[in-house]
Assembly symmetry: C2
Homo-oligomer: 150 residues x 2
DNA sequence: TATTGTTATACTCTATAACTATA
DNA sequence: TATAGTTATAGAGTATAACAATA
């Protein structure tokens, strides 16, 4: 049983994710965002989201962890957090127009860097193939990746 | 400036890496390995490696963090740790035959799961294209990803 | 004095538990 | 009583600083 001809998927993907994250951080800082704040802005799309717990779950965070993030984003007018009239325990979360502008600007800067990286090291066909395959795997629920029954 | 048609690379890759890691953990546990121990066995190839600091750096760990991992692997006979006769401060690290057997068995099990996942959701051509592109990016030094000068 | 490995300490991030306010 | 959000506390993981041995 000799060494396989390729490295493990995780062994390639996890360090790549770390490097991409490291590349994002200074860009986000320029836009006044932390990684968690950016995750929140990305997830909060046009339509409001009901409850902070749902948001936390959606971005893989603990509900107690995003509270400071949400208050800060609210204080800066990037998101709105209004009590649901139907049930005043829950907060309806939504992007403000300014929040959408900040999110779009940050995302454009990040994807510009990403595209430069891909263009430098991959052929256009390889770039497309990579993104296609990643989008397929990205669309899977996490359990489909973690527990693939034979 | 509207929302881009694709998600950020990092936003797809980081959660995928987390899910793949979660998929590995039970397999590693069956083979009596932690993630750090597995990283060490993967990096310690046929030829011995000079110094623990070099190993730590190679697997993206802190040198103080792998000490317990190395003592444990040494106690179990999976690696050898002999002082360098030329400079008795440094330890020469190498896989033992048993260590290589454990590493190969664990890696085979992991890659079997990975291949099942890819086969279920990607076409053979997509699988090959994904692995090719990942191997290109994996071969880059981390700085090439983090600091792509324009 | 400088360096390898080690130990001890502090810090950051994350999760758990306890609390409040609504229902 | 049950749930959403919040606060306070504890735990895991990680990095920093101090130490012993060798050069």
């Amino acid at each position: 049983m000799s060494a396989p001809p390729r490295r493990d998927l995780a062994a390639m993907i996890v360090p790549l994710g770390r490097a991409l994250t490291a590349a994002e951080l200074p860009v986000l800082r320029e836009h006044g965002l932390t990684m968690w704040a950016y995750s929140v802005l990305l997830r909060l799309d046009e339509r409001p989201l009901r409850s902070q717990a749902a948001l936390a779950d959606a971005i893989g965070a603990d509900k107690t962890r995003i509270i400071d993030v949400l208050s800060d984003l609210g204080d800066r007018g990037l998101i709105s957090r209004t009590p649901d009239p139907a049930d005043r325990r829950v907060r309806l979360l939504a992007l403000t127009p300014q929040g959408r502008r900040v999110r779009d600007a940050a995302q454009a800067a990040i994807q510009l860097r990403e595209e430069r990286l891909l263009a430098r090291h991959l052929t256009p066909a390889q770039r497309t193939a990579l993104l296609d395959a990643l989008q397929v795997l990205d669309a899977l629920p996490a359990e489909a990746v973690s527990d693939p029954e034979p």
